[in-house]
Amino acid sequence: MPSSTPLEVSRLTKVYGPVTALHDVSFTAQPGRVTGFLGPNGAGKTSTLRILLGLNRPTSGSATIAGVPYRALERPLTRVGGSLSSDVFHPARSGRDHLRVVALAAGIPLPRVDVVLEQVGLQHAARRPVGGYSLGMRQRLGLAGALLGDPDALVLDEPINGLDPDGIRWMRGLLRALADEGRTVLLSSHVLSEVQQTVDDVVVIRHGRIVFDGALSDLEQGTARVRVDVAPGDRAALAAALTAAGAGVEAGEHGLVVVGLDARRTGEVARDAGLALTHLSDEGDGLEAIFLQLTADESASAEGSAA
């Protein structure tokens, strides 16, 4: 059983010359869950993950693995495995030799190399130079490196990038299985839809600041929007029932607009009140739209509306 290993980022600030890349970034990735770290390119995802894995130093704040900074871990690859980029391999070295080099430095038994190569489906290409690998194969090699130490936590930067549809399905299944074993899985993406079927929790970063941190279901809930209608005489009764159920109700052009309840729950409220619906449609924005709204660049949208 993996030991419980939360990844905690606390009040991180990173300044590169005149640019503040991270402002007071805090969140925790919990064991047994897949946490999606989402935001547009350049929002600060990679900077945060590199600080978490001890590659970069924060200007202030801290990042820990089960309470210990990466650099202070004895044999870190056995606690947390990371894959941050698919172009960190010597093109003339074979995938297998790359993993042997890492295993030797990390004190991981060499037989693990062939185990992880098979786990990521690279055994057939293992002895070929990495220079001839596709992006998807390099992603798999990076993942193999992260899995090498059989770690309690995984940190993966854009792991879906470059995978074909089969590869994406495989990756989702693998990450789910790893989290179900009790491991902590933290992965980044700039496209929510890419990971929305995989993640339990979502942390959204924009311009170096966290703008959302919670369960994926919370992200969906906040913006549910349903349009309903009943016979005109029953509208007041329906509005009262929905309000009593905790929804916000507005009078729409055709019937009522319900905010804060999903379509199914809205229908149940109407049924329990004995009202027959003449119309029910889900007009929520969808996760991707919510995500875009969260991460939209104000200056860009301001320019867009001015044009």
Binding site: R57, Y70, G82, F89, H90, V101, V102, A105, A106
Partner: protein, 282 residues
């Protein structure tokens, strides 16, 4: 195994999984073999006769000096190879961004650099062995063929051979330090080639013009190496060709030359450990 032991094993695996180390060895072997054979021929009586025909005063060197000059081709012209090896050992990590997986596996970067220093010294000594295989392997038969002595049973000659290994090991370490400081592979290669092939030989020739400059030039790495090894074509130019300006400062003793070279090799590594090895890994 200790963290350093693991890092050393990993660094050796890195080197041995690529072709560069033996390609450099092959180049060194051929280059030194051709140089030593040519030098043996040039320095032989036959060479001296050719020189005498060209003008009077060409000296005849004794057997040990001649043999030492031939065998020390490794340190006279071959040090560029261990130097290049050391520089590549450091800069390849930046060039191919392999520093990321390296530092993930061993976040204590001082340990990584120390492991590379061990590999640089061992591989540098190996290049010394390869170079001597070339200089003795081609030089000794050529000396015999032109009627000179191979002098391989002379203690003075054996001392030169042994110190050659120390010199190539230290030059490899010097390359590591330069590479770790520069981080750019292109810059490191250009500087290594320019310095060993042009800058230092020219500086040493020019420094021979006056005694103060000659005294300073003793601390150039090539000059310190000649002192350490006890033979070198540049420091013997005056004996071979009296027309070369040859103001002499008291030559460094062999161990002084060794210490100067060791300091020149260690300082860049230490400075790199305190500077570039603390930067963010990009």
């Amino acid at each position: 195994m200790s963290a350093l032991g693991r890092a050393v094993a990993s660094e050796f695996a890195k080197v041995l999984s690529l072709r560069a180390w033996w390609l450099l060895g092959l180049v060194l072997l051929l280059y030194i073999a051709v140089t030593a054979a040519g030098l043996a021929f040039f320095l032989s009586d036959l060479g001296a006769q050719l020189g005498a025909a060209a003008g009077p005063g060409a000296p005849v060197l004794d057997a040990v000096t001649t043999a030492n000059l031939v065998y020390s081709s490794v340190t006279a012209v071959g040090l560029v190879i261990p130097l290049l090896f050391g520089a590549l050992l450091a800069t390849t990590e930046y060039r191919h961004r392999t520093l990321t997986p390296t530092v993930l596996a061993q976040p204590r970067r001082g340990v990584v650099l120390a492991a590379k220093a061990v590999v640089a010294l061992v591989m540098g000594a190996l290049y010394g062995v390869i170079g001597l295989a070339g200089s003795v392997g081609a030089g000794a038969p050529t000396l015999l063929a032109v009627g000179e002595q191979a002098a391989l049973d002379e203690p003075d000659v054996l001392t030169v051979l042994a110190r050659t290994l120390l010199a190539t090991a230290l030059w490899s370490l010097l390359g590591l330090g330069l590479g770790a400081l520069l981080t750019s592979q292109i810059a490191a290669i250009v500087i290594v080639l320019a310095f060993t092939q042009f800058v230092e030989p020219i500086l040493r020739l020019i420094a021979g013009i006056s005694e103060p400059t000659a005294a300073i030039a003793r601390f150039l790495p090539g000059a310190a190496t000649d002192a350490l090894v006890g033979a070198g074509i540049l420091s013997s130019l005056g004996a071979i060709d009296p027309s070369v300006p040859n103001a002499t400062a008291d030559a460094l003793l062999w161990w002084q030359g060794g210490l100067v070279l060791a300091a020149l090799a260690v300082v860049p590594v230490v400075v790199a450990a305190l500077t570039t090895a603390r930067r963010d890994v990009e």
